[in-house]
């Protein structure tokens, strides 16, 4: 490891060195969750006509007299062209929600406040309660033609799909997904299908990272395992770097005699942006890059891997795809005082309780995978000269994926 840097310096270094993913055309029904890379403009006014907001009758408000009686002369269902009421006074059209208001009507009176007198007449119950404009969603009142409705850099959710569909977008320009390899290391690890010997354990970090990626709709293109042997390790890394945009590696990056990864990345011509962050868990975190590929080296203990994935890799993936305005995280306040350090940032697993309360769920150690199940996410405790932070103090909360 080199000189320790702070978590915010680490994130800045990652953002600076990451390329921006190319953009591609995507069918609109496949765009949910992706990052938009174009402007979507209103191709017509919103709404495109005077639209009835209720089921009832379209009238001319000035014609409501003491009797409140109108003759029903037409039907205006949704989907029918615009009508006119014409020159006869005190006539109305029966109208449905979403239908075009007749060109010479200016008020919609809902069924609920009328009485049907006979087949061709209705009466407004409280004549004084109605005015021009009532229940008419007026032409262009929401947005004029040409106005930007959706801007590049947003994540496309259900609302954005609806707006784009309304504007006739059959495809949208979105960020291409990066090709990601998830790589584990460590000769103590055996495949999930194997029966481990007493001194072995099954591999789980790679599946954990792949699952977290899948929950962001970014499944890994390849899962690989590197042996604890320098030449074989370097050769495999070289092939992976040539094939993928991003490599997320866990283990093999600490001070152990078998931690060949840093030297292998250096030898392959990647530049070490940092190796070692003033944080717990995850101190040995590193980041290597060259113009075609970026490599995150996450510490191999499960809690360290998980925390570094959420704190560094996830924002980096968003940044890579041009999503630069992530949502504001919720804040949780401490249920009880917690210890902190004056030299490092602590990422503390917590469970989320009612009323935005965070209950600390510290792991016994960063290898304690099962204990993490009791937390819902983590909060970030920056270094402090105090012994720790008091109950009630609030911190940004990040949910585990």
């Amino acid at each position: 490891m080199r000189k320790l840097i702070s978590p915010s310096q680490a994130q800045e270094a990652i953002f600076q060195m990451l390329a921006r993913s190319p953009s591609i055309d995507c069918p609109i029904d496949q765009c949910a969750g992706r990052i938009l890379r174009e402007h979507v403009r209103a191709d017509r006014p919103f709404p495109p006509f005077n639209r009835s907001m209720m089921d009832g009758y379209a009238i001319r408000a000035a014609e409501i007299d003491v009797s409140g009686t109108f003759k029903i002369i037409a039907q205006a269902p949704a989907g029918a062209p615009e009508l006119t009421l014409g020159n006869e006074p005190s006539v109305c059209a029966e109208i449905m929600t979403g239908a075009v208001v007749p060109s010479d009507a200016d008020c919609v009176v809902p069924y609920e406040v009328t009485r049907q007198i006979d087949e061709t007449h209705m009466q407004v119950i409280h004549p004084k309660d109605h005015a021009a404009g009532d229940f008419i969603h007026a032409y262009a009142s929401d947005r004029p033609t040409g106005e930007v409705l959706l801007a590049p850099g947003i994540r496309i959710g259900s609302r954005e799909i609806a707006v784009a569909a309304s504007c006739g977008c059959k495809t949208l320009l979105v960020s291409a997904k990066p090709s990601i390899a998830v790589v584990s290391t460590g000769d103590e690890l055996v495949d999930i299908t194997a029966t481990p010997a007493a001194h072995q354990i099954r591999r789980s970090n790679d599946l954990m990272i792949d699952a977290a990626l899948k929950r962001r709709d970014l499944p890994a293109a390849q899962l690989a395992h590197l042996p604890d042997e320098p030449n074989a390790c370097q050769a495999q890394l070289q092939a992976l770097i040539a094939q993928h945009d991003l490599i997320i590696l866990s283990g093999g990056i600490s001070m152990g005699k078998k931690d060949y990864i840093p030297a292998a990345l250096d030898a392959l011509g990647l530049h070490c942006q940092f190796h070692g962050v003033a944080q717990k868990p995850g101190k040995p975190l590193g980041f290597w890059s060259h113009p075609e590929c970026a490599v995150f080296t996450l510490p191999g203990n499960p809690l360290s891997t998980l925390t570094c994935w959420h704190q560094y890799v996830l924002p980096a993936l968003d940044h890579f795809m041009g999503h630069d305005s992530p949502p504001i995280p919720p804040q949780l306040s401490l249920e009880a005082p917690v210890k902190a350090r004056d030299d490092i940032t602590i990422f503390l697993p917590v469970s989320r309780k009612a009323n935005n309360i965070a209950s600390a769920q510290p792991a016994n150690n960063s290898g304690d995978l099962v204990r993490i199940l009791q937390s819902d996410g983590y909060i970030e405790l920056p270094p402090t000269q105090e012994k720790g932070y008091p109950a009630g103090k609030s911190f940004d909360f990040h949910l585990w994926y």
Copy 2:
């Protein structure tokens, strides 16, 4: 519409009538985001051996004398079988993180606090700083064999995948995904690929719901559009009901002359659990069911559709799949006072600001699709005898998908 019921009565009625989805075996690498339907137990202790937590040296703590010197007699890399130090005094094994601690060692001393004297000797710098147990993740200290690690009903995230992989689960029993049809209605709607006439608009609700479903990994099996004509409408509905577990329908359920859906569902033998909820937006919400199919009828205005999807359909999907412990929602407090009603619940679009503040983003009307883009989700304002709720009052917040 029938008698209005409260939002909580509506949710209860839905939960009571919904079937429970069958469970299926799923390969572990496809389980992210799904609902677990079995117990996962530890097949070995966690951890399965005395595991070194650091790179350094494994020693017998009682042998640290004033000099702190030890002879290095062995290497203990991760993945190698258990060693013994043997009978010679003041010897140690160089050990890597994740390796098995020698059977007769009881303390790991990290490199950082040692000095290498020569090729075969190291010195502990502060002899008094170390004790038996240091940096050893003890055998079975996290969990014994057979203990339940994962219980049915949880949503499987990255941590659960890691735990299941550690236990050798190649597949997991999870809830089958329901077959869902998303159905729009309304003769004013044309396909996204068509050029709408002046009185028409493009269909967007069905794509909006499908996108929201896709963001939950539950893509619709079929999208359909019903005409505003009773016989054709009923025949198409019958076919859809026969083919799908759930139908999410938007539009055609209000009081309009062309709102044929309620009668068609009744005629097809489905039972109306409710039709009409004391809420805004979304008053005409309805729910029909029979043993093989449940039909949500959402009002067709985009904000109504979206709100009802989040408030009713999403929890119902979780319930259908056996996920009965949804996460606690964050609470946001009002930035400014808001009006409320004494008779209905208001679902208010809000944007989320820093420090858990909710800024109201009311729509001009429930047809105002574009305005919804300025909100991040909504809060639920129950009826109150007061004029409204004061600034600072907190409410559960639900993010738009």
